[in-house]
Symmetry: C2
Subunit: 178 residues, 2 copies
């Protein structure tokens, strides 16, 4: 199978550090050309499923602008410029929950939009999490920290209560592994 | 917890049926205002995990513009204007694989970008899938239909071979349920 080729790229909109939109001219293996393929440049991000020493899953109940009503969620945030994904994951776990963990493993890296870009999601499982300080997040959303049992986390996931795509992905992957 | 309010919205870019970008002025519960919140309007889409009568998971090996190298994937596609998600799921299963199924259940609806929109993902599990015709897809990508055992599908998922976020989500959810 042959890849599609980027023949030309042009910036259509520079909105902020969270969004640049490009138009790409794309060449297909059969020789045809698509002249209006949109490409979304947004920051890569991390999510973390953190499990405490007593097997509780650290989750949030929170509001998000893109979701009507409240939702369950896991730790997450954008990478700072030049930041390694694992470093960002450890930083966000500490900021959002006041926990650190001795045991980190990757749950993979995924393209958010396989057609149009929109960044990469890097997922991590943190085991043996311990509270070391108060949460100190600069997140703008209201959120309540929850400690769910494995059964509670799985039931909430299957009931659709983790309403963001990346949260459902990482939690399902973490549960499949454990 | 109180929701954020949209105080004003303005279209910044109308690219195509696949992308409109808006700027929102957003009011937070504490009275503060964010004047440059980007909002991405892109079509809702479906994915389907289809399992055949002999317990094979219908998957693809394919190339996608947003992914370097090839990837495993599941059935998916955008909703047509006004189309119900389940109807789109059944249409895409038939078009992409030539299969129908008697037993459909929802695996939930998820916001792609909980901050900035980018459409909703509707997931379905189709059981008892049977081949009734040749695939007849208008997809532009090259793809090869695979029939994986449950163990093969789970191993490939955990090895990170389903490299798009929505594919990993739906497959993990389907495996957790079965």
């Amino acid at each position: 199978m042959q890849p599609w080729k980027t023949l030309h790229r042009e910036v259509l909109l520079r909105h902020s550090k969270y969004l640049t939109v490009e138009n790409h001219t794309v060449g297909l293996p059969d020789g045809s050309v698509i002249s209006d393929w949109n490409w979304i440049v947004s920051p890569d991000f991390i999510n973390v499923v953190a499990v405490t020493e007593d097997a509780r899953y650290l989750c949030f109940r929170q509001v998000k602008y893109g979701i009507e009503g409240d939702t369950l969620a896991v730790v997450g945030g954008y990478l700072e410029p030049g930041e390694e994904p694992l470093v960002a994951a450890q930083r966000e776990l500490l900021e959002e929950t006041g926990h650190t963990a001795p045991d980190w493993s990757s749950l993979g890296t995924y393209r958010v939009d396989t057609n149009h870009g929109a960044g990469l999601a890097h997922f991590f499982l943190a085991r043996g999490a311990q509270r070391v300080t108060e949460p100190n997040s600069d997140d703008l959303e209201e959120q309540e920290l929850l400690q769910l049992t494995r059964a509670e986390a799985q039931a909430a996931l299957l009931a659709g209560q983790f309403r963001g795509l990346s949260w459902a992905t990482i939690l399902a992957m973490a549960l499949l592994r454990s």
